[in-house]
């Protein structure tokens, strides 16, 4: 199982219903492929940094899913076909999260170690200050 984020931009002229319909389609692809949906976030209408198909703004939707590569392949294929979707991107994010966890655990361990030597630590600080 891997974690992915699928973000896509829907045509700004699309109605709320159409966006919900697209979301439902993506959702069904994920669930039928044996994946889980972790989050669906409608980020709302935003100005695009550059024009895409003559549109200056777009409706951003973010999906966070857990699943395998086949789901992503299928979802991307479907998004590509949809006319209302003007841009999409899929990012794998489990590696980044794992790296972050590692850094955090390391930092906590260090903080704990510093805590046990709390009496020694201020002495070092004051010595450093004296030198400056």
């Amino acid at each position: 199982m891997r974690n992915y984020e699928i973000m896509f931009i829907v045509n700004p002229n699309a109605t709320e219903d159409e966006i919900d319909k697209i979301n439902a389609q993506v959702e069904s692809i994920v669930t039928s492929g044996g994946g889980q949906i972790q989050k669906i976030e409608k980020m709302g209408k935003r100005r695009l940094a550059y024009d895409i198909d003559k549109f200056r703004e777009g409706f951003y939707v973010l999906f966070a899913i857990a699943g395998n590569g086949d789901i992503v392949k299928e979802a991307e294929r479907r998004l590509r076909v949809m006319d209302a979707v003007i841009r999409y991107i899929t990012v794998r994010c489990d590696e980044e999260v794992r790296r972050f966890e590692k850094i955090r655990s390391y930092r906590q361990k260090r903080a704990a170690r510093r805590g046990t030597h709390a009496s020694a630590a201020p002495a070092v600080d004051s010595a450093e200050e004296a030198m400056q």
């Binding site: 931009i9 935003r46 695009l48 550059y50 777009g58 841009r87 991107i89 990012v91």
Partner: protein, 85 residues
């Protein structure tokens, strides 16, 4: 006693100090550089929307690499521009 003077420089050359640059991500302990964080990324893309080089921003190489990836992802989903006039 050894003196701790600055190394000798040619006569007439002006002495100036350059502030030591530090990596923003290391100092502020920003661990994840996310492509959705436009506010953070836009600090590293000046007006022309080019990625700011490390020698100017002072970002360390590990973070610059992640920053590069994030900016390029953000560009492809129109959160950041590729170029501006």
């Amino acid at each position: 006693m050894k003196s701790t003077r600055e190394p000798k420089r040619p006569a007439g050359q002006k002495q100036y100090y350059r502030r030591k640059k530090v990596c923003k991500f290391c100092v502020e302990r920003i661990d994840t550089i996310n492509y959705k964080d436009v506010k953070l990324l836009s600090q590293f893309v000046p007006e022309r929307a080019k990625i700011m080089p490390r020698r100017i921003s002072g970002v360390c190489s590990q973070h610059q690499r992640r920053l590069n990836d994030a900016i390029k992802k953000a560009r492809s989903i129109a959160l950041l521009p590729y170029a501006t006039e």
